[in-house]
């Protein structure tokens, strides 16, 4: 992990809700693994105090980027930055996905959970995996890439309905060794159940409000089963990627 103040290399808008922030730093692109994240802060604004966690979305040579959804104060203020402005980045943080070799991998994302997928896909590809990707959004605005199996709840783009409905069918008809997923918790929950039923290993990336992002504050815990006991694990340090079958969902 490093603390860097880097100028924005590029900021571009996919549509009104999503934008991409990219930076250049060789050391970082060498270090990062898919599923890891950075704590990002606009150092020119004191409030909100806390940095916010964002997954690495793409890595190309010395350039890495984030895909960000505008939902509140910080994401809105990041969206107003321009090229050259300085951003504080702490990372890479977290465990990241465990990459398999030469397997049938299925990637499932929902909404902004798509963020870590391009980088994950690239690395899995490099390890000889056969990859299928499903992505779900509410509307066409939540669709990022034409090369994956897109599903929209309103049916406006790609397949119609929840992404998990289509994944269910896919799992019935196709051999899958491991599922990688990131998205809203209700989606993850359904997906994990599907995977358990189909005896497929599933790695899920979890989200929690974070303070430190490094494991120091114990603010970001989730309940996970370990040796037949339910223990609190830190999403920032022990995660954000967990074995889906072990996660104990909050009441």
């Amino acid at each position: 992990m490093q603390l860097k103040k880097l100028p924005i290399q590029n900021i571009s808008f996919l549509n009104q809700n999503y934008f991409e922030l990219s930076f250049r730093d060789e050391k970082i692109t060498e270090l990062v693994k898919p599923g890891q994240f950075f704590q990002i802060k606009n150092p020119s604004k004191k409030f909100p105090l806390l940095p916010r966690p964002f997954s690495i979305s793409k890595v190309e040579k010395d350039t890495f980027s984030f895909l960000i959804k505008k939902i509140g104060k910080v994401t809105r203020s990041l969206s107003e930055l321009v090229q050259g402005e300085i951003v504080q980045l702490l990372g890479p943080l977290g465990n990241g996905f465990t990459l398999v070799d030469n397997k049938n991998s299925l990637l499932v994302s929902g909404g902004i959970g798509y963020a870590p997928m391009p980088f994950l896909e690239k690395e899995l590809h490099g390890k000889g995996n056969h990859i299928t990707s499903f992505h779900g959004g509410r509307t066409g605005n939540d669709i990022f890439c034409r090369e994956v199996m897109n599903c929209t709840e309103d049916g406006s783009v790609g397949l119609s309905g929840f992404v998990t409905e289509h994944v269910e069918k896919y799992l019935q008809d196709n051999p899958v060794d491991v599922v990688y997923s990131c998205g809203p918790e209700p989606m993850l929950k359904v997906l994990v159940e599907l995977c358990i039923k189909n005896s497929v290993q599933v790695q899920i990336s979890m989200e929690r409000i974070m303070a430190c992002g490094v494991g120091a504050c114990c603010g970001c815990v989730v309940s996970v089963e370990e040796n037949n006991e339910v223990v609190y694990k830190k999403v920032c340090k022990d995660g954000p990627v967990f074995d889906g079958a072990k996660v104990v969902w909050d009441e």
């Binding site: 490093q2 409030f47 105090l49 940095p51 970001c220 815990v221």
Partner: protein
């Protein structure tokens, strides 16, 4: 350049900076050499492992942070086995923060820790707002603080620092009780009670409802507590509460603190404590003042 060395109880610090208990961990050793700090303070350790409170444990408010971690920690034995070893690698003072449910338990912890190497001081957390029937009850009662301090200081030779809660009518009385009990120093303040509500869901934002409020919003309150306590005690004060930069740190020192700790701001910028050290040196140089003259120099 002025080096800002201080004496805190029985310890010599190379500079007056440490980190507030629970807001810093060995993880930050990846970022800088922790030996640069005047002291390291561990998160609070309890006799047995503690799972901590149910999430949601953290909420950011407009100008600060609410937490209800509930002292999640691996317990005394695991701490000794793992973290303590690692802390010993750093060439600086180590303050171990401890909490327990009874005076007896506190004493047992001290006895167990006292036979370890590498510990320079104990910070007695009698002020955590997030644990029921523990800590806070101690910290609001003069007699118990006196009794606890007296017993602890009678079993250890190490520096004993009592950490005070601001959630009391008279923090001076608690401070005086600790001093009378033989405390070598005081740490203040712990968090204030605070709360936040999600108005759309009409729900408490923290699972526990009330949590500990820290960060910039509490700074004027913390400063006032430090100033008031400094007027009545003769032992050194380790000050904390909303310190974000060297200006903040200076306010506390001028109000009477011998040392300062960075807490919540570590989450914002983990280098803050290092930047404050440098800033204090610059201030002392520019104002041609020795750091120790600065302490309590308010007029």
């Amino acid at each position: 350049m002025n080096k800002c060395e201080i004496q805190f109880g029985k310890m010599k610090w190379k500079n007056p900076l440490t980190v507030a208990s629970g807001t810093f961990g060995l993880e930050y050793a990846e970022l800088f050499d922790l030996s640069l700090l005047g002291a390291l303070t561990t998160k609070t350790i309890t006799p047995k492992p503690k799972k901590g409170n149910k999430p949601q444990r953290i909420v950011e408010t407009e100008v600060g942070l609410l937490n209800s971690i509930g002292l999640q920690n691996p317990g005394l034995e695991e701490f000794i086995k793992t973290d303590l070893q690692k802390y010993q690698e750093f060439d600086t003072n180590l303050i171990v923060s401890i909490s327990a449910s009874t005076i007896d338990e506190f004493i047992k912890m001290i006895e167990r820790l006292d036979i370890q190497t590498g510990i320079d001081a104990y910070e007695i957390n009698v002020s955590c707002p997030n644990v029921e029937n523990e800590g806070i009850a101690f910290g609001t009662n003069e007699e118990i603080v006196f009794e606890l301090t007296r017993k602890i200081t009678s079993v250890t030779e190490k520096t004993v620092i009592i950490k005070l809660t601001p959630n009391v009518t008279s923090i001076e009385n608690i401070a005086l009780a600790a001093q009378k009990g033989g405390a070598d120093g005081l740490a203040l303040i712990n968090t204030l009670y605070g709360m936040a509500i999600d108005v759309d869901a009409r729900k408490l934002k923290l699972r526990n409802g009330i949590g500990g409020y820290s960060g910039p919003g509490i700074k004027p309150i913390a400063l006032q507590n430090v100033y008031r306590v400094a007027q009545v005690v003769a032992i050194p004060i380790l000050a904390m509460g909303g310190i974000s930069n060297v200006q903040d740190a200076l306010e506390f020192v001028i109000a009477g603190a011998t040392a300062v700790a960075v807490g919540t701001q570590n989450f914002v910028n983990p280098f803050t404590s290092i930047e404050v050290i440098r800033g204090l040196e610059v201030y002392c140089h520019q104002h041609s003042v020795d750091f120790n003259e600065l302490i309590g120099s308010i007029t």
